[in-house]
């Protein structure tokens, strides 16, 4: 008797058995939610499975999507202060359930000390990738600006709320052209030659890590609670 594997996979929302080369690191928030649920189960409590208390949002599926984008190496540096440009891309096609996105948090980890030598301040610009207007244009360009942020010193992971964007992408997958990330160095041009930027920016490129935490609510499994009058 062969256990019908596909039944279990279907149950998990998978098409085939995953065969990862290596397991991805699990972010602390997912560990925390899991541990809290295990404690609740051990104590016989019955928590609301459609509410993520740790994040304060409704939802029953949490996903951490790795960035599948790429760095851009323009022949001519667009600004003297430009340090790096990257397209961030998150594949949302795995979201098959007719779920409602209730949270989308982009996390950018610039590395613990990768830019501490750069100088006084970094500036970070996050935009939507401009949708292609014609055939043949291959270089992604920044479109609508989502965030502009100064980063005066290394401060761990930077988080951005992308709820509206992610909800739009799940409804209209063809709109998902990715995000355009540009990091600029606010430098004193008199004291700093542009060539000096090369090495720290290369370090930043190596250490930069982006991920998208997505919470979805499956209406089939999470029916709206009836409100008492």
């Amino acid at each position: 008797f062969q256990f019908p594997r596909y039944v279990f996979l279907q149950f998990l929302g998978l098409d085939k058995v995953p065969s990862p080369q290596k397991l991805q690191p699990v972010p602390s928030i997912l560990k925390k939610v899991l541990q809290d649920r295990e404690v609740a189960a051990a104590t016989g409590a019955s928590p609301d499975l459609c509410y993520v208390r740790e994040l304060g949002v409704r939802g029953n599926v949490l996903r951490l999507l790795p960035d599948q984008g790429f760095f851009l190496y323009p022949k001519k540096r667009p600004h003297a202060s430009s340090c790096l440009q990257k397209v961030l891309y998150f594949n949302l096609s795995a979201i098959k359930e007719q779920g409602q996105v209730t949270m989308a948090r982009l996390s950018l980890d610039l590395g613990p000390s990768s830019y501490s030598h750069l100088g006084p301040e970094l500036e970070l610009a996050l935009s939507l990738v401009q949708e292609p207007r014609g055939w043949g244009r291959s270089t992604p360009r920044p479109g609508k600006v989502l965030a502009l942020q100064s980063v005066p010193w290394p401060q761990g992971v930077l988080n951005f709320n992308l709820l509206e964007v992610a909800a739009d992408w799940t409804r209209n997958p063809q709109k998902n052209s990715g995000l355009f990330l540009e990091i600029l160095v606010k430098e004193d041009r008199d004291s700093r030659e542009s060539s000096q930027l090369e090495d720290p920016c290369a370090r930043l490129r190596r250490s930069l890590h982006a991920s998208l935490l997505l919470v979805t609510l499956d209406p089939e499994q999470c029916r709206p609670s009836w409100k008492r009058r």
């Binding site: 998990l12 990862p20 649920r37 996903r63 790795p66 795995a94």
Partner: protein, 114 residues
């Protein structure tokens, strides 16, 4: 007329049995990050008419057992889960996404005749 009570020893009566599902045994540990397995349990045992009222039974199970005693074509009440609890699973899919999902009714906590 009095219905003869079938003989059933205590160990054959409907109750919860331990069943641990080990993901490693199935090779699923390569993509299921946590848990490594879980105590799913299962229900098994007899639901004799004489004891349906004491085996955590539904009223319907009692009536069904009564009907079975009168007419053997009516199936006997069966031993089923009466209380289930959820588990959460953390796994990785083919796109390297790490997913935490909650699944209801995965662990049998109590059994009864139904």
């Amino acid at each position: 007329a009095a219905v003869p009570a079938p003989q059933a020893s205590c160990k054959h009566l409907c109750h919860r049995h331990q069943l641990f599902i080990n993901f490693r045994d199935r090779g699923w540990h390569k993509w299921i990050i946590d848990p490594k397995g879980f105590m799913a349990n299962y229900c098994h045992g007899d639901c004799p008419f004489s004891l349906t009222t004491s085996l955590n039974s539904s009223n319907y199970a009692f009536l069904q057992a009564l009907m079975h005693a009168a007419d053997p074509d009516v199936p006997q009440a069966v031993c089923i889960p009466t209380r289930l609890s959820p588990i959460s699973m953390l796994y990785q899919d083919n796109d390297d996404n790490v997913i935490l999902r909650h699944y209801e009714d995965m662990v049998v906590d109590e059994c009864g005749c139904g």
